[in-house]
Every structure is written in structure tokens, then in C-alpha cells.
């Protein structure tokens, strides 16, 4: 069954790596719903957050292919239940309309929005949340002449993750320590041995 998966990839900061990762999806004709690149908690290590709609089997194989890339340190995939995520949205609306027709105070409170810019001709609101939440504010603002709307890619934190500092130390060892478990996928133990 297809569902939304969030793929988190820790990488070196290398020119061309975005393309190397992106073509792994397009080669398999998988549409990327959202893609974000940002620094991570570790200096010099970049973090990709990619959202796709696929079956678990496809995602697992894809993540192993991504992790195989030389400049990729580690790739994870998670369902929505396993992560906390946000998207940021900006809305530009005519200031006079807003002032007249909408109770700005209620708007801000109900949608967790805040005004970023207020000018005579327009006002820009900002909010963040899940897609449904940012979508809802569109429907509120459309009747009052929404001029422009833009939404960022998803950023996500894996609930179970302890960050990348410890992991990186393992990678920096010239010889992997025998206890280093790079092949975590084998840890399904019983599942792997089921015949």
C-alpha cells in the first residue's frame, strides 16, 4: 500500500549531490512531493528531507540505493507517525480588504498566523503547520483577495532519533568498530529468519 514516507538523508556538503539524489527518484518515475535541504545539527553535514508517496518495499530499496552514494552518510525513512514535521507558508493579501472584512485578531489566533509585513497596499501573513492547516488559511483568505501564496518544503524531526553527533564519530573511525552496527536493517532478527 502506498503511503506518505519522509526520507531523511545525512550527507557531505557537495556540489552536485542534490542532482545525484534527485535522479534516483526520477529514474524510477517517482514524484518527489517535497524536498528540503538544510544544515543539520552537525557542522558541515547537510540534511535532505524528502517526501514521497510509495509502498514500504519501494522506499526501503530506494533508501539503500541513496545510502550507497559515496557522499551520503546515512539515510532513514519514516512514516508520518514516526516524525514531527512542519511546513511554512506565506500569504500576501490586500491590507484594506483585510482591515475591513476580516477580524485579524481572530485570524491570527485561530491559525497561529502572524503578520510579517504590513504596508498600505498589502500585508504578508506567515503560518506553519501540516498541509491541511496551511491549506485552511488559504480558504479563509481567498474570499478577501489572496494575491500570492507560497509554501515551503517539509522539515521533519524523527521522534526516536538521538541526532547525528554520535553516529558521525563512528563514520570517522578508519576501521569500523566490531560493535558498529551499520547494517541495522538486519536487526529485524526474527523477521529476517522467518522462512
Amino acid at each position: 500500500m502506498k503511503q506518505e514516507y519522509t526520507i531523511t538523508v545525512y550527507t557531505e556538503n557537495q556540489v552536485g549531490l542534490l542532482n545525484r539524489i534527485a535522479i534516483m527518484f526520477s529514474r524510477r518515475k517517482i514524484n518527489i512531493e517535497s524536498l528540503n535541504t538544510s544544515p543539520s545539527e552537525v557542522e558541515g553535514i547537510h540534511r535532505f528531507t524528502i517526501v514521497i508517496n510509495e509502498t514500504e518495499d519501494v522506499v526501503r530499496k530506494l533508501v539503500r540505493q541513496i545510502e550507497k552514494q559515496v557522499d551520503v552518510l546515512k539515510a532513514y525513512f519514516n512514516t508520518n507517525e514516526e516524525i514531527v514535521w512542519q511546513e511554512l507558508a506565506l500569504y500576501k493579501v490586500p491590507t484594506d480588504e483585510i482591515a475591513e472584512k476580516v477580524k485579524v485578531e481572530r485570524l491570527l489566533r485561530e491559525h497561529g498566523a502572524r503578520a510579517v509585513v504590513i504596508r498600505k497596499d498589502y500585508t504578508i501573513f506567515e503560518t506553519s503547520g501540516h498541509r491541511e492547516e496551511t491549506d485552511k488559511l488559504i480558504s479563509v483568505l481567498e474570499p478577501v483577495g489572496l494575491i500570492e501564496f507560497v509554501r515551503s518544503a517539509r522539515v521533519a524531526i524523527i521522534k526516536e532519533s538521538r541526532g547525528f553527533h554520535e553516529k558521525l564519530k563512528e563514520f570517522e573511525e578508519t576501521e569500523p568498530h566490531p560493535s558498529t552496527r551499520e547494517n541495522e536493517y538486519l536487526d529485524q532478527g526474527g523477521n529476517v529468519f522467518v522462512m
Partner: protein, 578 residues
């Protein structure tokens, strides 16, 4: 031109000196132990060729006739020598001509380092003369690629390139160097080979529990079957592999790239897997109870229809590449690691055994195949020569000691099926990509990679015409390769499919050829053409005995088919004997 550089040891204490980026490229080649470079000069790589002029005593450069020929030659070199092949090409068309070879090396895990020239950094993105976006064009077909715009990066990046190309699951690496970086002078601090990249772990830690579980399955098995691929050769684990199957007493079959890892006449070698493989290995894949895959990737040409493949068997998969495990076939017990390491661990845990009844089944299958296929192919009753008897006669002369380089198509399948091999790294072919035109240039490289061995290229009349310009390379560099063209005046494999699956509608397969012997003669290469059985053996002997390159054209049956065959979309047990 400073040629004394490489005599100094590459240590961190070495004094810095000012050299050009191009010299640093040559210096890296020397330090990496490269002796042969295949390449073709051009505008954007001229500074490197200029530096190369001063390294002529240490770096042999083979001028090819086309960059595709250069990269296939480097592949052939890597396959017979076990070392990383090196290619130089210029920017633009020079670089794009490498793409087929890169894709071939990528899918067949061949270690290559390709150096391409690039326009000056300030011209990048301006549609400058002979500018192409080589990095992005080659990204999907390289293990790693990188563009250098500053000469100071050259030593470190080239060290990384060689390390990445040759370690773990090998593959092609492309380094694009802008002309300004080639010309730029910088403070050279010596060459330090690369042994570690933090984001890259070529050799995983072997999980012992999985080896133990695999051994338990093997020890409990009644009809175990080993299938092996190029991983055995790439891991240099031929002896470890032989020790394993001999102790466990398990019959073993090979993929096209695993061929020659185990001698042909080994009693446990039961033959070839896949679409045109042997009858027994295909049929009995669906009768074994434990299937042990070693360094192979369950390609669709090996498995046929996946939902009809070894459904009854527990699968043990030994591979160095985690992405291969569960990719096509779900592994009951995955053993992720270098088989040079995992096979001895497994050998230590398996019981000494033999399976005479099970092995007998393979022999029965061979008997059926002998009646239906071998007899007609190797001992034909008509006057028309078959491809099989050419290979069989060649075996009688070379006794399985030659390197056999094949192209793609019917002759490739026949050569792989019937050629005998006594030692590893003797079979060079384009397996995964199926690149017609591969064999002639690959044979050139194979000879440089194994100069003391007989190298015989077996090529079809179609494939030969795709890269025949490399006869010029053979002429100029005096490459002593033997070329057999199996000429059926058809693009035979496509014709076979048209006959079997497209109602004999022979669309565009009737290919005309030049006078191959006269063509070779124009390049100063001796040769002859044979079409009659009594002349075949003498002609082959003349070819082998000739001191120098030789081209032998053999006219074979126009409409012969390669059997057995697992038709596309069928399971391996549905293999057809005719």
C-alpha cells in the same frame, strides 16, 4: 618539464614544490601505479597531454581511435589485470563519447578512473566551444564524479577517485578538470593515497550471527545449490569459493560475469545460469531447497520471471553491496560482506558433505541438453559451420588458457556456453549493459592487462562494425590480439527473436559487411576467411601461431539459433531446448 618528481617518496614530510595541475595529474597516475592510459587528446585536455609528454618513460599512453574505444579498452584492462583502468578524454564530444562505457562499467562493476578536460572555469555555463555539462550527464552512470576548478584539489581528489573506483563494489569514477586548473601552478605537497572517506564504507562489518544461520541452513539442506557471479572475481575470492563448495559438496552454476572464477572442468561446476544458460542449472533452480547466491545480483536475464523463481527455496545471499540484498529476490539469510571474508567463515562452519543423488540430477539434465543441443551445435551433420564448433575447436588449441573477449549477441552466448577456462579473469564481456562494439576495444585493453596471455576476441559481424576503427589502435600500438568474426550475415540474436516471437518478420537484421580480411589488411593486420569445416582447425592454429594481431572470419550458418532459451516472461523451469 620536471620528470624527477615521482622518484621522491610520497610522504607528508616531502618538501613542497611548485608544479602545474597537469603535472599533478601525471604524478597521481605514477603514484597509483598506473602504467597504461587509454585516451584521445583534444583542446580542453591539452595541458595534461603536454605534461604526459614528460612522463613518457613511466606512463604508456595508448592512442585510441574513438573515446568509446578508449573506455572499453580500459574496461578490458581492468577485467584481466584486476587493477583500475584509466582513460583520458577531452571536453564536450570527447567526454560524451565515454558515456556508453561508463554505463557498461557501472552495471558490470568495473573500476575505472576517467579524466576529462573541461573549458576554463570562467567559461562554465556559457555554451563555450566543446563545453558540455559532463558531471550531470555522467552522474547516473558513475559511482562518483567530481569537477576540479582549482589545481590544489588535484592530488586529494585523484587519490579519492582511485580509492572509490577500486574499493567495495568497484565502479567507474569520472574527474572533470577545467583547463585553468590544469595550467595553474600550485604548491605540491606530495601524493597521499586515500584509505578512508567518512561517508563511504566499502567493507561492512560481517555479522557473525548471519553466517552461523547460513551455515545451519546449508548443513540441514538436502538439495543445496550455489549460484555465483563476478563478486567472487572482484573479491579475489576464487580459492575461498572453491574451498567452500568443495567442503560443502555443493554444485555451483555461474552468471555470465562469474564465468572463469571456477575452472570449467571442476566436478562441481554445473554450468551457466540464465536465458541461454544450461538446462540443469535453470530447471534445478526450482528444485533446490537452499539457494546460495555468492556475489551476484539476480539480474532478470538470470531469474526470468521472479514470481516463478526458486519459490520453494530458502535463499542465502552473500554480497558486499547492501542495496543488492532483497532487491530482486528476498533473502532468507542475508550475509552482507566481502566474500573473501565471509566465505572462509562459512566454510569453517559447514559440514564436509557430498550430494551424489542431487548431482546426478544435473548430469541427467546435461544428457538431455546434449541430445537436444550439444550434438547439433558441436557435431553438426550439415556442411555449414556452427558458432559452437568454432569455439570447441578453439578450446582444443588453447586448452582453456586464453582470455576470451566477447561482444554481444548470439556469438557471446555461444562463446560463454562452450569456451573452456582454467583460470580466473579470463572471460571479458559486456554482461549487464549488452554493449555491441565492446569486444574489439576491450580485447586491446585485455591484452595490456594480461600481456603474457593469449587474448582472443570473438565478435559478431554486426558488433565488429560498431567499433572497427580500433583496428587502427591495434596497428599503431602493435597489439597482438586475435580476432574471430563469427559472420552469419545477420544481426543474429535479434533475428532469432524475430523468428521465434515476431513471426519471422526479419525487420532490419539483414546486415551487409565489408570484406573483413581486406579491411584488416588495410591496417596491416593479417587474416583469412574460412567457411569449410576441413579448413577450420588449421585456420585457428594459424591465427594462434601468428606473431601479431590476426583476423579470422568464419562464415557460419545464417539462421542458427541459440538454445536452450528461457523466453522473456517465462520462469527458469520453462526453459526451451529447441
Amino acid at each position: 618539464m620536471d620528470t624527477a618528481l615521482s622518484t621522491a617518496p610520497a610522504t607528508a614530510t616531502q618538501q613542497t614544490r611548485t608544479i602545474s595541475g597537469s603535472q599533478a595529474v601525471c604524478e597521481a597516475m605514477v603514484q597509483e601505479g598506473v602504467s597504461t592510459i587509454f585516451g584521445y587528446p583534444g583542446g580542453a585536455i591539452m595541458p595534461i597531454y603536454d605534461a604526459l609528454y614528460g612522463y613518457e618513460d613511466r606512463l604508456e599512453h595508448i592512442l585510441v581511435r574513438h573515446e568509446q574505444g578508449g573506455i572499453h579498452a580500459a574496461q578490458g584492462y581492468a577485467r584481466t589485470s584486476g587493477r583500475t583502468g584509466v582513460v583520458f578524454a577531452t571536453s564536450g564530444p570527447g567526454a560524451t563519447n565515454l558515456v556508453t562505457g561508463l554505463a557498461d562499467a557501472m552495471i558490470d562493476s568495473t573500476p575505472l578512473v576517467c579524466i576529462t578536460g573541461q573549458v576554463f572555469a570562467h567559461l562554465l555555463g556559457t555554451d563555450a566551444f566543446q563545453e558540455t555539462d559532463v558531471i550531470n550527464i555522467t552522474t547516473p552512470v558513475t559511482k562518483w564524479n567530481y569537477q576540479i576548478t582549482d589545481a590544489a584539489e588535484i592530488p586529494e581528489i585523484l587519490a579519492k577517485a582511485f580509492y572509490i573506483a577500486g574499493s567495495g563494489r568497484p565502479g567507474p569514477v569520472l574527474i572533470d578538470i577545467t583547463k585553468n586548473a590544469q595550467l595553474q601552478l600550485f604548491e605540491y605537497q606530495g601524493y597521499k593515497p586515500c584509505h578512508h572517506i567518512r561517508s563511504y564504507r566499502p567493507k561492512p562489518v560481517v555479522r557473525k550471527a548471519y553466517v552461523e544461520e547460513a551455515a545451519r541452513l546449508i548443513n540441514e539442506a538436502e538439495r543445496p545449490f550455489v549460484i555465483f557471479g563476478q563478486g567472487v572475481i572482484l573479491g579475489g575470492a576464487e580459492q575461498e569459493f572453491k574451498a567452500f563448495i568443495e567442503k560443502a559438496g555443493i554444485p555451483a552454476a555461474w552468471t555470465i560475469l562469474g564465468l572463469s572464477a571456477l575452472p570449467t572442468d571442476h566436478p562441481l561446476n554445473v554450468g551457466m545460469l540464465g536465458m541461454h544458460g544450461n538446462y540443469g542449472p535453470n530447471v534445478l533452480t526450482n528444485e533446490c531447497d537452499v539457494l546460495i547466491a555468492v556475489g551476484m545480483r539476480f539480474d532478470d536475464r538470470v531469474t526470468g520471471r521472479l514470481d516463478k523463481y526458486a519459490k520453494q527455496a530458502k535463499v542465502i545471499h552473500l554480497d558486499i553491496d547492501p542495496a543488492e540484498i532483497d532487491k530482486n529476490i528476498k533473502a532468507t539469510v542475508p550475509v552482507w560482506g566481502d566474500c573473501k571474508e565471509t566465505l572462509p567463515m562459512l566454510t569453517a562452519l559447514v559440514q564436509q558433505k557430498a550430494y551424489p543423488k542431487w548431482l546426478e540430477k544435473f548430469k541427467e539434465c546435461t544428457k538431455s541438453e546434449d541430445e537436444a543441443v550439444f550434438q547439433g551445435e558441436l557435431h553438426p551433420t550439415s556442411d555449414i559451420l556452427t558458432m559452437g564448433e568454432v569455439i570447441d575447436t578453439l578450446n582444443q588449441i588453447t586448452h582453456g588458457n586464453a582470455v576470451i573477449v566477447t561482444d554481444v549477441g548470439q556469438h557471446q552466448m555461444v562463446a560463454c556456453r562452450y569456451a573452456k577456462f582454467n583460470q580466473s579473469r579470463s572471460n571479458v564481456t559486456s554482461g549487464g549493459l549488452g554493449t555491441m562494439g565492446f569486444a574489439l576495444p576491450a580485447a586491446i585493453g585485455a591484452k595490456f592487462g594480461a600481456p603474457d596471455r593469449e587474448v582472443v576476441a570473438v565478435i559478431g559481424d554486426g558488433g565488429f562494425q560498431m567499433t572497427l576503427q580500433e583496428l587502427g589502435t591495434i596497428m599503431q600500438s602493435n597489439v597482438k590480439v586475435k580476432i574471430i568474426i563469427l559472420n552469419n550475415n545477420f544481426l543474429g540474436m535479434v533475428r532469432q527473436w524475430q523468428e521465434l516471437f515476431h513471426e519471422r518478420r526479419y525487420s532490419s537484421v539483414d546486415i551487409q559487411s565489408p570484406d573483413f580480411v581486406a579491411l584488416a589488411a588495410a591496417y596491416g593486420i593479417s587474416g583469412q576467411s574460412v567457411s569449410e569445416r576441413p579448413n577450420l582447425k588449421t585456420a585457428l592454429e594459424t591465427m594462434i601461431d601468428h606473431d601479431g594481431a590476426y583476423l579470422l572470419e568464419v562464415m557460419v550458418g545464417k539462421e542458427n539459433n541459440v538454445f536452450p532459451m528461457v523466453p522473456q516472461g517465462c520462469g527458469v523451469a520453462e526453459i526451451r531446448l529447441k
